[in-house]
Amino acid sequence: MAEVSCRKVIKEYDGGVQAVKGIDLDIADHEFVVLVGPSGCGKSTTLRMIAGLEEITDGEIWIGGEVVNDIPPRDRDIAMVFQNYALYPHMSVFDNMAFGLKLRKFPKEEIKRRVDEAARILDIVPLLDRKPRALSGGQRQRVAMGRAIVRNPKVFLFDEPLSNLDAKLRVQMRTEIKKVHQTVRTTTVYVTHDQVEAMTLADRVVVMNGGVIEQVGAPQELYHNPATRFVAGFIGSPAMNFLPCRVQDGPNGGLAVRVSDGIVLPVPPARLDRYGPYKGQKMILGLRPEHLFEYHEQGKPNWFRVELPVDVVEPMGMETMVHFFVDGVPVCARVDPATHAAPGELLPLTADLNQMHLMEADSGRVI
């Protein structure tokens, strides 16, 4: 087990394209950290640099208190699970899992003991004699995890391991991965583009965008206190609504956020100090769909009332998504499934303004 650190790590490809632009990251021993972000944000490159599969252009990577920049992958004492499983097709499940141990000249009894133990943890004991082609996607992914576990490495690296699985199996395997980590407690770096995976698995989530780290934090922290507009929009499903607005004087000496002529929202007293300096400035209002709901919905606060014509209604069983347009900007609200909202009709809405976010229009920084 070990800590992993990245110090000003840069990856520049031929032609001067920088995939990773000097990131700093500290991952504690036993921690489960998820790198998340859109395609091309540099998350997989970062993981591959930690694995030693990509050379770093500048900076330092530390594993277990040792700089590993010039250490080949096999000597970094890491194990990696790939998106397409990367099982050796000509070997049985047992041989796949034992391959790394055989190369390291472990005694046969020890290899058998470790493989059996990993197979028991992953519930793949009956599959040990099968070839990978005779396994389902989920079973293959378990074998790939087993191959990582038997090595008992310092660090587990997962590169989008669930992307090839169907939605149901993905949820099941997500739980399996979490259980395995709770059992073996190995430091884990996990890459995904799926923010739900990131939120459910991680002790801490690292949100990356354009080769830089936008924010590092616990899942709830990222959800409730995003640092930038990008993080606010990336974390949460459906994504946060963003509306251009202006901060202005409100009633009783307070402040208000003016979204349009008919929509002026009072700023909660607790935020007056924070938003005061931005009076008169163009800002972006961020409101999650779950904090925007029908007026007079049971158990929800009613800060204001505004009626908007419904564009689309999406009943999802336990909740219903209602889509509107505010001055041409699409807005989504998560309302009670018993709603009578219908396309074209006006729906009275309100929001929990204690959950609102204001961002600088230019920088996207949440204030």
């Binding site: 030693g52 599969l53 080949p72 992958p73 990696m80 990367a86 391959f99 790394g100």
Partner: protein, 298 residues
């Protein structure tokens, strides 16, 4: 719409099926005719070879009867060849100058293809293309300069020169096949092996060679065919019976002046064709799989 108003009493779906059936029928007929023509074209020569090999010299030279039929089948041509010491020598020489070059070619091709396809060094792309381009140079352009080299090595009229030369014919194409095959193996497989602790040679030996076996077999069959059937180089560099191989030995020994011993020539051709036929028959599936690898993803 009532059933009575439908064309021919059929539903539109049934009409569509009938139309598809008719189209498929036409396509099948076209395929059978085209394949039939090709089968006739390719099977007539071996059939004629077989028929002639089973005839005595008298029957071959007789002007009566159809040349496509055997009236008095005999194995005397085959028996003559099997007991003929020169033919045995040609056969043995052919086996030697095939097995050794095939082995050498495959070792070189597999190592070259692995490094070109997987190790991603500077200039590997250009080298890959160059390897294939060398295959495009016809042997007929090379045999005169090669004659000088073989002469310098004092290997003229020595079948070991063929062991040296045949890999030059087989290696480029085999390397090209293997580059394609190795490239079709997911990169994550060697990355997983690297992380598991394997070196490049271990990756090649323990992962790539077993996974790429169909491609290796395809390349081996090609190298075998090239070496077994080569005609120009043995014709140019060998001239005594004890050094000759089958391709040249058959025509130089069984054609004496103006006398063509057709029965023996045909029997010799059939006997010489046996090893390739046996190898193709057993390994055809691997051969096709190897040549088409990388054509589709998956």
């Amino acid at each position: 719409m009532s059933a009575t108003t439908m064309q021919g009493g059929q539903t539109p779906a049934a009409r569509h099926r009938t139309s598809l059936h008719r189209q498929r029928l036409w396509a099948l007929w076209g395929s059978y005719i085209a394949l039939g023509i090709f089968v006739v074209m390719f099977l007539v020569p071996p059939f004629y070879t077989l028929v002639t090999s089973l005839k005595s010299s008298a029957e071959i030279s007789a002007q009566t009867g159809s040349p496509w039929l055997v009236r008095h089948p005999t194995l005397e041509n085959f028996w003559y060849l099997i007991t003929y010491p020169n033919f045995q020598t040609y056969y043995l020489n052919s086996v030697i100058v095939t097995i050794l070059p095939v082995a050498v070619s495959m070792v070189i091709s597999v190592l070259a293809a692995f490094s070109l396809a997987r190790m991603g060094f500077w200039g590997s792309q250009t080298l890959s293309t160059s390897v294939f381009l060398t295959y495009l140079i016809p042997p007929s352009l090379l045999f005169i300069p090669l004659f000088q080299i073989v002469g310098m090595l004092h290997l003229i009229n020595n079948f070991w020169c063929l062991v040296l030369l045949y890999p030059t014919l087989a290696v480029p194409f085999c390397t090209w096949i293997m580059i394609g095959y190795f490239s079709s193996i997911p990169k994550e497989l060697d990355e997983a092996a690297l992380i598991d602790g394997a070196g490049y040679l271990q990756i090649l030996w323990q992962i790539f060679i077993p996974v790429a076996m169909p491609g290796i077999i395809a390349a081996t069959i090609f190298a075998f065919t090239v070496s077994w059937g080569a005609f120009l180089y043995p014709l140019a560099y060998l001239y005594t019976s004890n050094q000759m191989v089958l391709t040249v030995g058959i025509i130089s020994d069984l054609i004496r002046g103006d006398v063509f011993q057709w029965g023996k020539i045909m029997a010799a051709c059939l006997l010489a064709s046996l090893p390739p036929i046996v190898i193709y028959a057993f390994l055809m599936d691997y051969y096709v799989a190897g040549l088409t690898a990388g054509a589709t993803k998956g």
